[in-house]
């Protein structure tokens, strides 16, 4: 192997070269690795320019950035796009990104070279990007689909400037889920007011049940309880203003919310902080807990048909104000990015999403959610779906969810630890909440 006198130069050259190459390779590789997430975030990077470049109305293709990466929603959206293609002849190219990444990278995604249309949520998280002009208003789309939506849905699709930015696809209500057979056996009645609710909890406790199933290991489920008690105590508008930090956290109204919560805290599952919502759902199906406040997606956990048929739910009981007018029903849908403002095909797709036909295509695959358009086909609804749809249709106000209605940093960094601590100790430092809110909202 060892070459003699004449060879070292060649060998050295080879060696040197290969080492350099390796180094370069590492450099390029590292750069590649570092760039990859950025590229993934800006999936639009390499696609054939559809609307953005030309900006003309003649464009007949549309790209969609989708965070609906789970199997069922992914196939459901594909069904929508296939139906749109069949109807209009426009081509749809989908870039699906794992949903956590999609949400986490949304800032850089919208600023980079985004797709024409992207999946998103109603609420502060929608209005925030609208106010930063990273998405395009779609009032012209709403002119043709507006009559297809309730006032509450139209309100939820409107930005701070009064323009429409969002086309709802589906939503799902939050409520107390329970097993009909258990309640029938024990003679429980659906409580309409908070006092009835507390009496029911006391009775369940006496009967050896954990009255209220609860799981908050992931941090966000407790926000549902907070939202409902807040809206029932202080009204829907206060919820919106508090989430937008137009109201101070350090005031009696907020303390009242936690006082009211404290009156039912003893009935909530004491092991909540170590449990996920899936585990809490199992406890409900095993009849260990009497009822469980969650979104209707909880039914995904009941794979046993007999259990599923035995599930019913009721809206959060009335407390001080507005009865049961407000329903927490997060809406998912589509938005138009700024660069596609003049892409007619993209707007046609949004219009299609706003019709019963488009939403039915989605619901044909994903049956755990409710179409939002008035002319959607509800004939395939099961009893639970029908009831959900009725409650949402009768709602005067539809809230999203704390983490959709508020600044994400407030929800994730402040409320999760604060609520977990409240669940543990029953005490809350509203002064500190306000101090944190002030600093975080100012940074936006």
């Amino acid at each position: 192997m060892a070459p003699k006198e004449s060879a070292p130069s060649a060998l050295e050259a080879v060696q040197g070269f290969s080492r350099r190459t390796v180094l370069k390779g590492i450099g390029v590789g590292a750069a590649g690795i570092a760039v990859a997430p950025v590229l993934a975030a800006c999936t639009g990077g390499s696609k054939p320019s559809s609307g953005g470049g030309g900006g003309g109305s003649s464009s007949k293709s549309v790209t969609v950035g989708s965070g609906s990466s789970d199997d069922v929603p992914k196939r459901a959206y594909q069904a929508v796009f296939d139906a749109f293609k069949a109807q209009s002849g426009d081509t749809v190219k989908v870039n699906t990104v794992p949903h956590n990444d999609f949400q986490n990278n949304i800032n850089s995604y919208l600023q980079g070279s985004p797709d024409d249309v992207f999946t998103w949520f109603a609420g502060y998280r929608m209005r925030y990007y609208a106010s930063k002009s990273l998405v395009a208003p779609i009032d012209d789309v709403w002119q043709s689909i507006g009559s297809n939506f309730s006032d509450a849905l139209a309100k939820a699709s409107t930005g701070d400037d009064g323009k429409k930015y969002f086309v709802p696809n589906y939503n799902y209500p939050w409520g107390y889920f329970y097993r009909k057979s258990l309640w029938a056996a024990k003679g429980y009645q659906v409580p309409k007011t908070f006092d009835e609710f507390k009496a029911l909890c006391a009775q369940m406790k006496k009967d050896g049940l954990i009255p209220i199933g609860f799981a908050d290991k992931d941090g966000w489920p407790a926000m549902g309880t907070f939202d409902y008690i807040n809206m029932r105590t202080n009204g829907y508008q206060f919820h919106v203003d508090l989430c937008a930090h137009k109201e101070s956290w350090d005031q009696q109204k907020v303390k009242d919310v936690f006082d009211n919560w404290n009156s039912i805290r003893q009935y909530q599952d004491p092991s909540a902080l170590g449990a996920t919502w899936q585990e809490a759902a199992q406890n409900l199906s095993k009849k260990k807990t009497g009822m469980y406040l969650l979104g209707s997606f909880v039914t995904q956990q009941f794979t046993d048909k007999a259990v599923l048929a035995d599930i019913d739910f009721f809206p959060f009981p009335a407390m001080a104000v507005e009865g049961q007018d407000s329903v927490e029903a997060p809406i998912d849908g589509l938005m138009l990015t700024k660069k596609a403002a003049n892409n007619q095909a993209a707007k046609d797709l949004l219009k299609f999403m706003g019709t019963g036909k488009g939403q039915d295509a989605y619901a044909s695959v994903d049956t755990s959610n409710l179409q939002t358009a008035k002319d959607a086909d509800t004939s395939k609804f099961n009893a639970l779906n029908k009831k959900s749809a009725e409650i949402i249709a009768n709602a005067k106000n539809i809230s999203q969810f704390f983490d959709r209605d508020a600044l994400p940093a407030m929800a994730n960094n402040v409320m999760i630890p604060a609520l977990q601590n409240f669940v543990k100790t029953g005490s809350i430092d509203t002064k500190n909440l306000e101090a944190q809110a002030k600093s975080l909202y100012a940074a936006q």
Partner: protein, 324 residues
Amino acid sequence: MTDLPLVGVPRDTRSKQAPTPSTGKPQRRRRVRRLNGRDKLVLGVMVGIPTLIQAVFVWIPMVLSIALSFTKWNGLALSDIKANGLQNYKFVTQNYPPFWPAVQHNIIWLAFLALIATPIGLLLAVLLDQKIKGSRIYQSIFFTPVMLSLVLVGIIWQLMYEKDNGLINNLLRTANTSHAVDWYGNSKVNLWAALVAATWRHAGYIMVLYLAGLKGVDPSLKEAAAIDGATAPQTFFRVVFPAMRPINIVVVVITIIEALRAFDIVYIINRGTNGLELISALVIQNLVGEGQVIGVGSALAVMLLVISLVPITFYLARTFKKVD
């Protein structure tokens, strides 16, 4: 031939020099400085690329982080960056409830690794260094956790710790009763539960380092100690352990760094909330993802950097002193 220095020696001189290295010393020193263009290029590339990589991936981000920690920014347009003075640091230390628990947990983490996990690793190494049967097999068993990521370690221990289905509660016969301890969910015990899981991995790591160290200790030292009438513990603590000084320093630094960068295991348990706050988890929470607050996250990162610099400086000072 291949182990000749690659750079710095012009190739025309090398072939002459190689057969008679002993005579070339003064000559060689002079010629080393004479670099031709190609050598300079090679040198430049060899030094430049790593420096560039280092700069792009370490120094520039670090400087930017430090700069951003004095600003507030929503992460959108660069023009939105606004100077914020020391407000982020004030926020973190005065208004951010998870911060001080996180500092406390990092200290507990360090103390636990240093006083319990590392000595266990040393003990394992000493035991396995005896010529016991099946020593290799034990080594492999204790080393296996090191090859697993902390994420996996967290998941494996989840199977032990689960409230109603976990091994521990079933052995204690408390599963499915009201006495069942929720090892990961109860903030009074979950830090210790996570530490036990981390120890399981850390001890194996330390064991391997010390096994290598023990193999490197000159056996004649032990013989000399035995001849002088030293007992086994005396031999170990007075002779063998001090002889492993270089390893000891490495182990100390590794332990400190492991304690500071501990992150994955608490993140996999509950994202570093509810009794498992660690500074690193807070950095991630504030910098990555939807709860992004760049100023605050950067301030936390800078604090972690400053804390980490202490052991790193200590370690580097040691290393370079030895070279000199």
